[in-house]
């Protein structure tokens, strides 16, 4: 027989002011199955919990209902209280009579009636609750970081420093990411490479860190504490164990027509290449698409010149399988494609460039060896126009609705650096707003305006048109309310950033949620900003939202702490509210398997005894460690064989019945 206890919380006056607590207690006490009902000022307080525990023991309660605030607040509190009193923690139900009742209804009568109904629904449900036991699962003491930019490197370093093994998977031939492409960083103007390369070296040298460059995550299964990951290590065509990084092969390579990705395609590179001088590992890759040996079978120059005999044309992709306890996504960003912004003449004129391209032009290792010059005729510009918010804060669907956050600051940086090095260049910036929230940010921007004489014009540019060897810029000055038509030598577009396009594929593999802009969603915007809602998946850097370097590094550290916190545990407690298939009802039709986002359902040929009929049937089996308890399968199942523990069909129906009574 059921022996249900009902505990009604006043929550000070939060509930008691609008809900007649006595009536709720009296009504609950009359419900069949209820043997105890009481109220208290603050049920969640230690004294309140003590009442619950005592009642459970004294009245030998088989289930309890707490009428209080949202279960999102204190469900766990009361589950623990129940457990301490010897009651299974899943024999607890919460009737939310605060957020869903007392706080939104003014009429006392109405609110009281509703509170009674909500209590009844919870009582009806708890009668059908079954004791559930949370299982445990192992924690593999190794973490995976996807992406080897500053975010990934920092996260990996912090995890490694805490004493755990960590692997970095980087898609390109070297770690370093976007930051390695930058020339200087705001607001201090220190050299990007100078602060990044020591970290890269540290990561490479760390005994706890393994770096897989030129590699991609291919498949992820498993769950928090025990992910199984397949990593595809793409064929480098160079034996990493033999290569000394001398660079002769690159020099001698006769194919020098491949666009240089590192320099944003502004110049060419050889078919065998390391992306940049400080690359880690300092081992080149053969770009098979552009390699003459791979295209025609003839050549083989690199193999001939390599003293170490490291060139291996036969090398194949390799699949590495490894288990991880946690996974950090640090896939970073790219700039958006500008094909929807024809008005800026990006595709028509080589002198219209993106800011990231400007970074490379300004960099001593870049296509112009650091000289500011036009890509069309290699002349030094006399005037430059910067256009802000290209594709950011966009109302139509050509660009992104969000602010890319870093553009205002790097544009100020670019303007300042140019004015500093080339004082004769006239620099104009068109902006919508200048956003400079950050330590020393506004001061930095003001220096650009006040000390370096950068012209800031509030207004947008409608069109950039190549005219002779000049660019004609048409814009408006909103403050002076006038149209502007000006000639300039170069135009720099502050192009919006977007998450790396590969992230959707990765998010799907990880079942991590992702928003419409392809940013990974954090578990809670404020309180859990580095956790994905999917347990064991953490977020680092711009894959979660636009960030500058210090923010990225901070978040990378935070993600590392969360990973370390997880890896420090030997076992994890699993959620017992998972799907369960009734083998006597299961048809083995595979509908449930198709809708399971976790691959938690498989099929087995099982011997069944269906009320005297013995036969072998194909039945669904749920891996309770993989199942997260969404319930998609329960509705896909036509026979009702699949049910969800803790939210069973009959429990929900009982609530429906109680509410509609």
């Amino acid at each position: 027989m059921h022996r249900i206890g009902v505990f009604v919380c006043h929550c000070g006056t939060n509930i008691a002011a609008t809900v007649d607590i006595d009536r709720v207690v009296a009504a609950a006490a009359k419900e069949p199955g209820v043997v105890h009902a009481e109220d208290y000022q603050y049920m969640c307080s230690e004294a309140g919990q003590l009442k619950v525990r005592e009642a459970i023991k004294e009245k030998q309660l088989t289930g309890i209902v707490v009428c209080s605030c949202s279960p999102r607040m204190h469900e766990n509190t009361f589950r623990q209280a129940a457990q301490r009193a010897g009651l299974n923690p899943y024999m607890v139900e919460i009737a939310n009579i605060r957020e869903h009742c007392s706080w939104i209804h003014k009429d006392r009568e109405e609110a009281t009636e509703k509170a009674i109904i909500l209590a009844r629904a919870a009582i009806a449900k708890v009668m059908l609750n079954a004791p559930l036991t949370a299982g445990t699962s192992r924690v593999v003491k190794r973490a995976l970081v996807i992406g080897g930019g500053i975010a990934g490197i920092q996260t990996a370093l912090d995890i490694a420093e805490a004493g755990y093994k960590v692997d970095i998977v980087e898609k390109t031939p070297s770690i370093g990411g976007r930051m390695s492409q930058l020339d200087k960083t705001f607001p201090t103007l220190d050299c990007s490479a100078c602060i990044l390369t020591p970290k890269m070296v540290e990561a490479a040298a760390h005994e706890n860190i393994t770096i897989y460059t030129y590699s991609e995550v291919e498949k992820v299964t498993g769950f928090v504490g025990d992910f199984h990951v397949e990593i595809r290590k793409k064929a480098r065509s160079v034996d990493m164990s033999k290569c000394t990084g001398c660079g002769v092969c690159q020099e001698k390579c006769p194919s020098k027509k491949a666009p240089n990705e590192f320099n944003r395609g502004l110049d060419k590179r050889s078919a065998i290449y390391t992306p940049f001088a400080q690359a880690i590992p300092n081992v080149p890759v053969i770009d098979r698409e552009h390699c003459i040996k791979f295209k025609t079978g003839k050549c083989g120059v690199c193999a001939k010149v390599c003293q170490a005999g490291a060139i291996d044309y036969e090398q194949k992709d390799e699949i590495i399988t490894e288990n991880y306890g946690a996974i950090v996504v640090a896939t970073g960003f790219d700039t958006i494609k500008l094909d929807k912004y024809d008005e800026y003449a990006y595709s028509q004129s080589p002198d219209v460039i993106t800011s990231l391209e400007l970074e490379r032009i300004m960099n001593a290792a870049g296509p112009t060896k650091g000289h500011l010059e036009r890509m069309s005729d290699h002349r030094a510009p006399k005037s430059m126009v910067f256009i802000q918010c290209v594709g950011s804060r966009c109302a139509d669907n050509r660009g992104k609705s969000y602010c890319s956050k870093i553009c205002c600051m790097y544009t100020a940086k670019h303007a300042m650096l140019i004015r500093d090095k080339y004082p004769d260049v006239d620099v104009t910036v068109f902006y919508i707003d200048v956003r400079t929230p950050g330590k020393n940010f506004d001061e930095f921007y003001r220096r650009a305006v006040e000390e370096y004489g950068v012209h800031y014009i509030k207004g947008q540019v409608g069109k950039v048109a190549p005219q002779g060897d000049k660019l004609l810029v048409q814009g408006v000055d909103l403050l002076d309310n006038r149209r502007i038509l000006m000639e300039t030598d170069m135009v720099v577009l502050a192009t919006a950033i977007e998450p790396n396009p590969d992230v959707r594929k990765i998010a799907t593999m990880l079942t991590a949620s992702i928003d419409t802009n392809n940013f990974l969603t954090e578990s809670h915007a404020k309180l859990r900003p580095v956790e994905s809602p999917t347990a064991g998946i953490f977020l680092s850097g711009v894959c979660q939202g636009p960030k500058d370097i210090p923010e990225t590094v901070a978040q990378a550290g935070a993600a590392a702490v969360k990973v370390v916190g997880l890896l420090a545990k030997d076992h994890l407690v699993t959620n017992p509210c998972v799907a369960k298939s009734d083998t006597l009802l299961c048809n083995g039709c595979s509908s449930c398997e198709k809708v399971c986002p976790y691959g938690a359902i498989s099929y087995e040929e099982q011997e069944v005894n269906d009320h005297g009929i013995r036969e072998t049937r194909r039945v669904a089996v749920v891996n309770s460690a993989l199942c997260q308890g969404c319930g998609a399968c329960t509705v896909a199942c036509p026979s009702g064989a699949m049910d969800l523990q803790g939210f069973s069909n009959r429990q929900i129906l009982a609530e429906v019945d109680a509410i509609c009574r």
């Binding site: 009359k30 069949p32 009320h611 005297g612 009929i613 019945d657 509609c660 009574r661």
Partner: protein, 352 residues
């Protein structure tokens, strides 16, 4: 004997329903079934076989037995009121009338089913002879005469007239209440009319009997279906051959005028309390014999065998040789897999 113009049937029905409920075959959504008559309804006496039999009028597909309520911890039980109003069922064919006899033997023998008994007590059956029995009819095998359907009043529709012959006290009383409408054709008081009527009815009857005689299923051999053959029939390997197409649906049992099995179930209507009701059940259903310990008929073959053994062997063994099939042929035309009792009789009887 009495007579009334066929064109005045609506008036007759209005008069009957003035004093009591009247159930008769109604045409609704392209099908004919027994239903409660009202002026808006369209009656249909031409369709020989209603989809469901008239069984519903005495043994409805579902009926409440009692209700329980729990109000603030106080339990109350409210038994369902028994039928206490007279009603007339008009248009029952000979087979359906005979089926009532089959049901009576089940429900009126001890312990009496009070719900059924109350309906039988208050129900008056006006039967109707089958003008043209169909190919699927095989009532003749069970000693039923489609030309003389019996019951409280029997009627014939011949050309423009309906001839009305009360047979019981109840029938007489009903006839009296309709005196203004029914023309007297009694031999004593209206000899001319009586002669005409007798002649017409006799002619109709002989025509019906001629047709029945010629029907393809009218001469089945039932001789093997005897109590002494029970075990032999039960163990026959033929069941295994025959049952296979059976879909385990309940069509045959639900259209059958004699199937009498029911289940008792509860419905929790929330604040309205719990209703305990009964509803027809079908021995073709897999959970028909499901009990706490398990199911004692685990295969469809066993269920299939049960239905026909019951109709042709068990029931007659307990009821003076009365078969619990009346040859209405509904299952013959309605079985989705074209299985039916005729095929069983032929196969088990050694004919096919």
């Amino acid at each position: 004997m009495y007579r009334i113009d066929k064109s005045r049937l609506a008036e007759l029905f209005a008069a009957i329903s003035g004093n009591q409920d009247l159930f008769l075959p109604l045409r609704k959504a392209d099908q004919t079934n027994y239903g409660l008559w009202s002026e808006e309804e369209c009656f249909d006496l031409d369709t020989l076989k209603t989809v469901k039999s008239a069984k519903d009028c005495f043994f409805p597909q579902s009926e409440v037995l009692y209700r329980c309520k729990n109000e603030d911890g106080k339990l109350s039980i409210d038994p369902q009121k028994l039928c206490d109003r007279p009603f007339v069922v008009f248009g029952m064919r000979a087979c359906d009338v005979k089926a009532i006899e089959v049901l009576d033997r089940v429900f009126l023998s001890d312990p009496v089913d009070t719900f059924y008994a109350a309906r039988r007590e208050h129900g008056i059956i006006v039967s109707l002879a089958c003008h043209e029995p169909e190919e699927t009819c095989f009532c003749k095998n069970f000693g039923i005469d489609a030309a003389e359907p019996g019951a409280d009043v029997e009627t014939w529709i011949i050309e423009d007239s309906l001839y009305w012959k009360p047979l019981t006290e109840k029938g007489e009383a009903l006839t009296v209440s309709l005196a203004g409408l029914l023309e007297n054709a009694d031999a004593a008081s209206a000899p001319d009319a009586a002669e005409k009527a007798e002649k017409a009815v006799a002619k109709e009857q002989s025509s019906i009997r001629d047709i029945t005689e010629k029907l393809p299923l009218s001469h089945l051999n039932l001789s093997r279906f005897k109590p002494e053959n029970t075990m032999e029939l039960f163990d026959s390997p033929l069941w295994e051959e025959m049952y296979k197409p059976c879909l385990a649906c309940g069509t045959c049992t639900f259209v059958c005028p004699t199937c009498q099995c029911y289940d008792i179930r509860d419905f929790d209507g929330g604040k309205n309390g719990v209703q305990r009701y009964r509803c027809w059940d079908s021995c073709m259903y897999s959970d028909f014999t499901m009990m706490a310990h398990g199911n004692l008929r685990t295969s469809q073959m066993q269920r299939f065998r049960q239905r026909f053994m019951h109709k042709l062997v068990y029931y007659p063994a307990n009821n003076d040789g009365l078969y619990s099939c009346v040859g209405c042929g509904r299952c013959v035309s309605k079985c989705p897999a074209s299985l039916n009792i005729v095929k069983v009789i032929k196969k088990m009887g050694g004919e096919a």
